[in-house]
Amino acid sequence: MIFTLNNPRRRLAVLIAATAFVALAGILLNPRFPAWTEDRVAPAKDEMALDEALSRAGGILWVDARPVAEYAKGCVPGALPLNEDAWDALLPAVLSAWRPGMRIVVYCDSRQCRAAREVAGRLRGETGLADVFVLKGGWESWQRRAQ
């Protein structure tokens, strides 16, 4: 029997099979393909896992990159707000609280939100502070720990 492509269902099947093949190639051959579960994903270079941050206790300055209204509803104890909307107004308090040797850990809602990364990048760029990290898992990871 000769395989023909006259039938739309066969053409769809070919496309789906080709997609599955490319997907499999990506999973097997791409070294950057992420792990199935988040626990197996190591923190990125500019990230700090919650366990590590808590183990450093006094040496951490927490910075909350969420909107101030969210910060007011609840935050990591001792965290200071700093976001791009009110950068100039909020930055002085962060700089006053910082002491040499402290690591700054910035967080926003979750692992997916970008605000923490943007605030961390801007802090490094404008203040010259090198030890600025993003909390892996964000505020969600803190809340999960608290439950």
Partner: protein
């Protein structure tokens, strides 16, 4: 007018196909960013998001290339037409919930455009793909 329409319908699959090939290639090269972007919509659990990050680049690459062929054009356009519809709904949902997301449209670049622009761009693609599906459905095979 008829000539302009005919030329447009001839060029459209190539243009849209090229866009999806490019988008798929960018996604394929940075799957971790794509996974993070899918999770950012907070619509599916991580397992489903992981599957999406595995399948989406391939789907865009394969269907983008297939759009440029005569044999597979209608089926590829149909798949992508449905995909862009799903994407528009996901974007609208994220907008309504006030989520701060990266679109993930072109390789999880982190570029955040406004929601209206993102949805508008997606609907434009959706309309173009719909035109291809309709035109291919009318032409003889």
């Amino acid at each position: 007018m008829a000539t302009a329409r005919a030329i447009t319908l001839r060029l459209l699959p190539w243009i849209i196909g090229g866009i999806f090939i490019w988008a798929g290639a960018l996604k394929w090269m940075n799957p971790a960013a794509l996974l993070a972007d899918i999770e950012g919509y907070r619509l599916v659990p991580r397992g489903i998001a992981w599957l999406g990050a595995a399948l989406l680049p391939g789907l865009e690459l394969v269907c983008g290339a297939a759009l440029c062929t005569r044999v597979f054009r209608r089926e590829a356009a149909l798949i992508l037409w449905l995909l862009t519809a799903v994407f528009a709904v996901a974007l609208a949902s994220a907008w309504l919930r006030g989520l701060d997301i990266s679109c993930g449209c072109f390789g999880g670049s982190g570029a955040r455009a406004g929601y209206p622009l993102l949805i508008g761009r997606d609907l434009l693609l959706w309309a173009g793909l719909g035109a291809i599906v309709f035109a291919e459905g009318k032409s003889p095979r």
